[in-house]
Symmetry: C2
Subunit: 663 residues, 2 copies
C-alpha cells in the first residue's frame, strides 16, 4: 500500500485520537506511547504485518507483540481499526472498565490479536524471542508452505533497561532469529523524566555487540520507517530499529515530556491536540475514509491466508499440523505402559533421573516437545538421547541450550507455548525459580502450557548450601493462581506428574524434583493416575488410626518409615502422599474428607512433612496439627547431615508426634 | 611486592592445591574456577587489594566480591593464606561440612572477609555496584581521609549472562563508578560445555557500549595481569578486565573443560596436578616459604590501616563515622513526636503518601538514608524535598534514580547495606517484588538492613489490571525467612512500620503501601509502637464477642466498617490489625492468646480480610475460620469496582460472616 502521507497521517491520527480520548474518558492510562508510535505502527500494520483481521487465529500470521504493554491503546486501536471483531468501539469507550476486554494492559486471554500479556517490562520482547524460535522450529518441521511468518515487537526504554532484555537479545543473537524485528520507541523519556537521569548506554552498540542488525529511522516519517524496515528484512539477522519519536506526539503542549506517559492529557490538551492534528471528529468517531483505509489494510492478508488454506488442505501433514497448533496431544497418548514397567521393576532413583526416564518416552511419543535448561542440562536431566540441539544452523533441534538465562528461558517458553505448535519444558534449580518467577506468573496468567523442571528441590541437595537450597519456594509457588506445583515422591509419581503436566492445555506446571535417590513406594498397579487426585493414601493405618502423615516428594519415603515405627508402637498411621495440593483442593468434598477426615487432633492428629517452610501447611494439618518443616535458611553440609540438623529423621519426627499425641 | 614468577607461582599454586584438595576431600565442589583464577587473585591480593588480614572489619578496606560464588575455595584459600583468623586449616579441611564456616558458597555471616553472600549468579557483581556507590557517597560525606577504597569483583560467564548484570553495569556506567574493577574469568566454559553453545556475544563491546573501560590480559601471566590492572586504575571509569584463563589450570588432563567446573578432579587427576604444578606438599600443608610470602601480602595494609586509625582519631567526625559504620541510629531516634502529630490531626491519605510524610522526618533526622526508586519516584513517593540526586557529578546526593532496574536496584541496596554507613531504601510496585525477589532473598539471608518500599499493594491500584495487581505477593514474601513484611493500614501505622524497619539492624523489611487513600483509625495516643507487636486490637467487641476480624493494610478500615455493622446486629466483633505477622509470631504466647484466644469457631469465629490470596491465613483463622481474599488474578477496573467484584465490601463480607455463624 502507498505510504503517501495524505493517506497515512489520518490513519495514524485515528490511533492518536482513540488513544487520547479513551484515556481521557477512563481518567487513567498511558496516551504518550500510542501517540508517539502511531506512525510506526501504521506503517507496520498497513504495509508489512501479515495478518487477516477476519481470522485472528490464522496459524501462519505474523506475531505482533506490544512489549511496552502500558501503551495498550495502541494495540486496541490497531485491532479495532483494522477490522478485528474486538474490541468494538463500545469496548474502546469502556477502556479499563470492569468486564471490558480493553484492560489496562493487553491480555491475551481477553482479545484475539493480543498474542501475549504484556506490562511487566521486558517480558514481551523476551516472549517474542520464544515465538520466533517456535516459528523457525515449525518451519523446519512443516516447511515454508505452512510456516513462514515474522515476529514484530514494539519495545520502550523500560523494556531495554530491564535485565531480561539482555538475556532475550543474547539468546536471539546467538540463535540468529532473523525473523524477529524489534522497534525501539526511542523517545528518551521514562516515568521519572529524561532517560539521562538513569542511563548513558549506547543501545545500538549493545545490540550490535550481541549479533543484531541495528537500524534507525525518524519514527514520524513514513518513508523513512519503511526504508528502515526494508533494510532490516534484508539483514538476515534479528533486527533492532531505533525509532526516534516524540512521546505524546500531537499534544502540542505536553508532547516530548513525561507528562504524557501515564496520565490523561486533560480536556484542554485533548482539544489542543485535536487542533494540532487537524482531527475534527468527535471522540470515538472515525471518518469513513479513514475507516476504509484501515479496513483495507486489515484485509491485506486475506488472499494470502486463503492461499495458505489451500496449501494446508493439500498437505499430507494437515492433520498433524492442526493437531499441534490446537495443542492436542496425539490420540491415546498416556504413560500407562511406561508406568506399568516401573511398577514391575521398582528402583531407587532421584526423581530428576526418573523425570529423564519419563522424558525419554514422552519425547519419542510427542514430537511437539522442545526441551532445554539454563545451563544445567546434566543436573536437571532435561535432555534425552534423541534430542538434537536447536541452533542457528539446525532449526529442527528439539533441545535448547538456553545458557545462564533462567528468566529469559522462562519467558521464551511462554512465547513458544503461546505461539503454539510446541510444548516447551525447561530446567533450572528450584531455588532459581526466584529468577524465573515473573515469567512463571505470566505463564499462569496467560494460561500457557509451560513445564518448569525444577530440580534440587530441598536441603537434600546438600553441600551447595543456603543460596542453593529452596526452603520457601514450594509454598511461594503454590500461592500463584492457575499454576500446578507438583512434587513427586518416586519414579511412578514422577511419570504421573509428567502426564498431568502435559494434559494441562491452559495451565503451566512446576515439577519439583530431587537431586538425591528416592526409594519407590508405588509398587502396586493402579487403574488411574493417582497423582491426579493431588493427594492420596499410600499406606493405611493398621492399628487404630491416630495419625495421618501428609508428605510430599522426598519426604513420602520418610513418612512411610515413621508410620512403620508408629505402628510398632501401636499407633495407627495413614500416610498421604500429596504431590499436588492444588489438584487435591479441586477434588470433591467427599474425596477430600476421606483422605483428611474432618475431626479434631484429639481423634486424629494430622502431621505435614515437607522439607520447606511450614507456612501454609495449616490448611491441611489444621492449626492444632503438627508441621514438620524448615522455617529458616538451610545449611551447607552433606544431605544426610543437613536433614538430621533440621529434624528430618524418623526418630526426630516420631518423638514430636508422640509428644503431641500425649499433650 | 614483586611479580617475580618464582615467587608468584608457588603462591598461586597454594590456592590451586587447597582448592583441589578441599573439593576432593569433600567429594563435592568447584575446583575449576579457583584453579583458573588463582594467578589473577594472587596478583590482586598481593599487590593491589587494600586490606589487613588482622582487621577484617577495617572500614576503609577495599571490598572484594567473588561474584562467581561457586568458586568459594578461591576466597577461602585467600583468606586463610593471607592470615585471616578464619578459615583455619581445619575449617578448610571441613569444606562444605556441617558447622564449618567454609560453606559451599561464601556466606558473609559466617566469615569476616566475605563481604557478601554469592552463588546466585550475577548478584555479586550487582552488589559490588552498591558497595561502590556507598563508598563514593561516604567519601563525599567524610572525605578522602576516612573513605578512599575500591571494590573488586571476580565474575564468571554466568554472571555476565544473567540479566541482572545488564542492570548493574548500566547503573555503574551511568554513575561512572570508577572505583569498581571487575575481573571477568573468560574461560569460555559453562556447565553445559563451551560458551559457544549458548552465547555469541562480544562482551567487551557490550561493556564499552555501557560506558565502561575494557581491558584484557592473559590471566596466567603476572606481569600482564598487573599491566591490565594499572591501566584500569588510570581509566577513571568502571573497568572490566577480561582475563583469558584456562578453567582448572594445573589439572593436566581435565583443564580447559567443563569436567573441572563442578566436581572433584578425582584422586588420580589430583595426583597428576601435583606433578604438573610441581607441588610436593601433602594435602592441606603449605610450605613455610609460601606461607610467609602470603602472610606478608596479607599484612601489607597494616601500616595503612594504622595511619587511617590515626586520621580517624584526629577527625572531628569520628563519632559520627563510627556510629554510621556500626549501623547504629542516632541516640534517641524515634518517630514519637511525628506520630503524636498525626494522631492530633487525623487525615485520610494513601499509605504511600503517609510513607513520604514519614520519610520527610526520617531523612532529616538520619543522614545515612539513601533513597531511590526503579523509575516510579512519583508513584512510590520515595523522594523527599531535601534529597539531592546521587549522580556521577554529585556523590553527596541521597536519592538514586535507579532506572527501570528493579532487580539491579535491590541488589545494589544489598551492597550498600553490607558496605555499611548507609541505610538504603528503594521503591517499586509490590507486584514487581517478583523482579526483585532473588535479591530480597539475599537481603534476608545476608541479614542486610534494606527497606523495600512497595506501593500499589493490591487490586486497589485499579485500572492497570492483573499484571500490576499483586495477589499472591504478600504471602509469597512472608514465607521468606528473616524478612519483615509490613502492611500498614493508616498513616500512624505507616510511621510505626518505618520506625520498626529502621531499627532492624540484621533484617530487611518490605513496606506494602496503598495507592488509594485510607482513613486513619489510629486516633488515640499510645505509649508503645503498637505495630511492633505485629498485631493488636484496634477495636474491642461491644456486644458478646463472637467474631474476630483480622485485617491488614487497606482492609483494616473495611474490617472496622464490618464490625460496626455486626455490632448493630448484636454480634460482638473485635478488629485486629496485623501489620506484620512475623512480628506477631514472635510475641509471647500470652500476648498472642490474648489477641487470638485459642477457642473453636463455635465460640469465636476468626475471619481474615486481606485483598490477596487466602493461602496461609489458616495460621490465624484456623482451618474452620473464614478467609476473605482473592485466589485468582485481579482485574482491570476502577478500584471500587474491582473491590466489589472480589467481594471486598462490608455487605459481602458480613453476608459471609453471618452465614458462617449460622452454620
Amino acid at each position: 500500500m502507498s505510504l503517501d502521507p495524505a493517506r497515512m497521517i489520518p490513519m495514524a491520527n485515528a490511533i492518536r485520537a482513540l488513544s487520547m480520548d479513551a484515556v481521557q474518558k477512563a481518567q487513567s492510562g498511558h496516551p504518550g506511547m500510542p501517540m508517539g508510535m502511531a506512525d510506526v505502527a501504521t506503517v507496520l500494520w498497513s504495509n508489512y504485518l501479515k495478518y487477516d483481521s477476519a481470522a485472528p487465529h490464522w496459524a501462519d500470521r505474523d506475531r505482533f507483540v506490544l512489549s511496552a504493554g502500558h501503551g495498550s491503546m495502541l494495540i486496541y486501536s490497531l485491532l479495532h481499526l483494522s477490522g478485528y471483531a474486538h474490541p468494538t468501539m463500545e469496548e474502546i469507550e469502556n477502556f479499563r472498565q470492569l468486564g471490558s476486554p480493553t484492560a489496562g494492559h493487553p491480555e491475551n486471554f481477553l482479545l484475539p490479536g493480543v498474542e501475549c500479556t504484556t506490562g511487566p517490562l521486558g517480558q514481551g520482547l523476551a516472549m517474542a524471542v520464544g515465538m520466533a524460535m517456535a516459528e523457525r522450529h515449525l518451519n523446519a518441521e512443516f516447511g515454508d508452505e505452512l510456516v513462514d511468518h515474522r515476529t514484530w515487537v514494539i519495545a520502550g526504554d523500560g523494556c531495554l533497561m530491564e535485565g531480561i532484555n539482555h538475556e532475550a537479545i543474547g539468546l536471539a543473537g546467538h540463535l540468529n532469529l532473523s525473523r524477529l524485528v524489534v522497534f525501539w520507541d526511542d523517545n528518551q523519556i521514562t516515568i521519572d523524566g529524561s532517560t539521562d537521569l538513569s542511563t548513558s548506554e549506547n543501545v545500538r552498540a549493545r545490540f550490535e555487540a550481541t549479533g543484531w542488525f541495528v537500524n534507525s529511522c525518524d519514527g514520524h516519517d513514513y518513508a523513512d520507517i519503511a526504508r528502515a524496515i526494508d533494510e532490516a528484512l534484508e539483514a538476515n539477522r534479528p533486527a533492532l530499529i531505533a525509532c526516534r519519536t516524540m512521546i505524546g506526539r500531537g499534544a502540542p503542549n505536553k508532547q516530548g515530556t513525561a507528562a504524557t506517559h501515564g496520565a490523561p492529557l486533560g480536556a484542554e490538551e485533548v482539544a489542543a491536540a485535536r487542533e494540532e492534528l487537524n482531527w475534527q471528529s468527535e471522540p470515538f468517531q472515525i471518518p469513513d475514509q479513514v475507516r476504509e483505509e484501515w479496513r483495507s489494510a486489515g484485509s491485506r492478508g486475506h488472499e494470502m491466508r486463503s492461499d495458505w488454506g489451500t496449501r494446508l488442505d493439500n498437505s499430507e501433514r494437515k492433520a498433524e499440523f492442526e493437531r499441534r497448533m490446537a495443542g492436542d496431544l496425539p490420540g491415546g497418548f498416556d504413560l500407562k505402559e511406561f508406568i506399568s514397567g516401573l511398577i514391575r521393576e521398582p528402583a531407587k532413583v532421584a526423581t530428576r533421573k526418573a523425570s529423564e526416564n519419563a522424558l525419554a518416552v514422552i519425547n519419542s511419543k510427542l514430537p511437539e516437545t522442545v526441551g532445554g535448561s539454563a545451563d544445567l542440562t546434566g543436573s536437571n536431566n532435561t535432555k534425552t538421547a534423541d534430542q538434537n540441539i536447536f541452533s542457528a544452523d539446525d532449526r529442527s533441534g528439539r533441545y535448547v541450550y538456553y545458557g545462564i538465562r533462567e528468566f529469559g528461558m522462562s519467558a521464551a517458553m511462554n512465547g513458544m507455548a503461546l505461539h503454539g505448535g510446541v510444548i516447551p519444558y525447561g530446567g533450572t534449580f528450584l531455588v532459581f525459580s526466584d529468577y524465573c518467577r515473573p515469567a512463571i506468573r505470566l505463564s499462569a496468567l496467560q494460561q500457557a502450557r509451560v513445564i518448569y523442571v525444577m530440580t534440587h528441590d530441598s536441603i537434600g541437595l546438600g553441600e551447595d548450601g543456603p543460596t542453593h537450597q529452596p526452603v520457601e519456594h514450594l509454598q511461594s509457588l503454590r500461592v500463584i493462581p492457575n499454576l500446578l506445583v507438583m512434587r513427586p515422591g518416586d519414579a511412578v509419581e514422577t511419570a504421573e506428574c509428567w502426564e498431568i503436566a502435559l494434559q494441562q492445555k491452559k495451565r503451566p506446571s512446576v515439577l519439583a524434583l530431587s537431586r538425591q535417590g528416592l526409594a519407590q513406594f508405588r509398587t502396586e498397579a493402579a487403574e488411574e493416575n493417582r497423582s491426579a487426585r493431588g493427594a492420596y493414601r499410600v499406606k493405611d493405618a493398621e492399628a487404630d488410626r491416630r495419625v495421618i502423615l501428609i508428605a510430599t516428594g522426598s519426604e513420602v519415603g520418610l513418612a512411610l518409615e515413621c508410620a512403620a515405627d508408629l505402628e510398632k508402637r501401636g499407633i495407627g498411621a495413614d500416610v498421604v502422599s500429596m504431590p499436588c495440593s492444588e489438584l487435591f483442593d479441586e477434588q470433591s468434598p467427599a474425596y477430600r474428607d476421606n483422605i483428611l477426615p474432618n475431626v479434631g487432633p484429639e481423634e486424629i492428629l494430622r502431621v505435614s512433612i515437607e522439607a520447606g517452610t511450614t507456612f501454609g501447611w495449616e490448611r491441611y494439618t489444621m492449626a492444632n496439627g503438627l508441621r514438620i518443616g524448615i522455617d529458616s535458611f538451610g545449611t551447607s553440609a552433606p544431605a544426610e547431615d543437613a536433614f538430621e540438623k533440621f529434624g528430618f529423621t524418623s526418630e526426630a519426627i516420631i518423638r514430636k508426634v508422640v509428644a503431641k499425641l500425649e499433650e
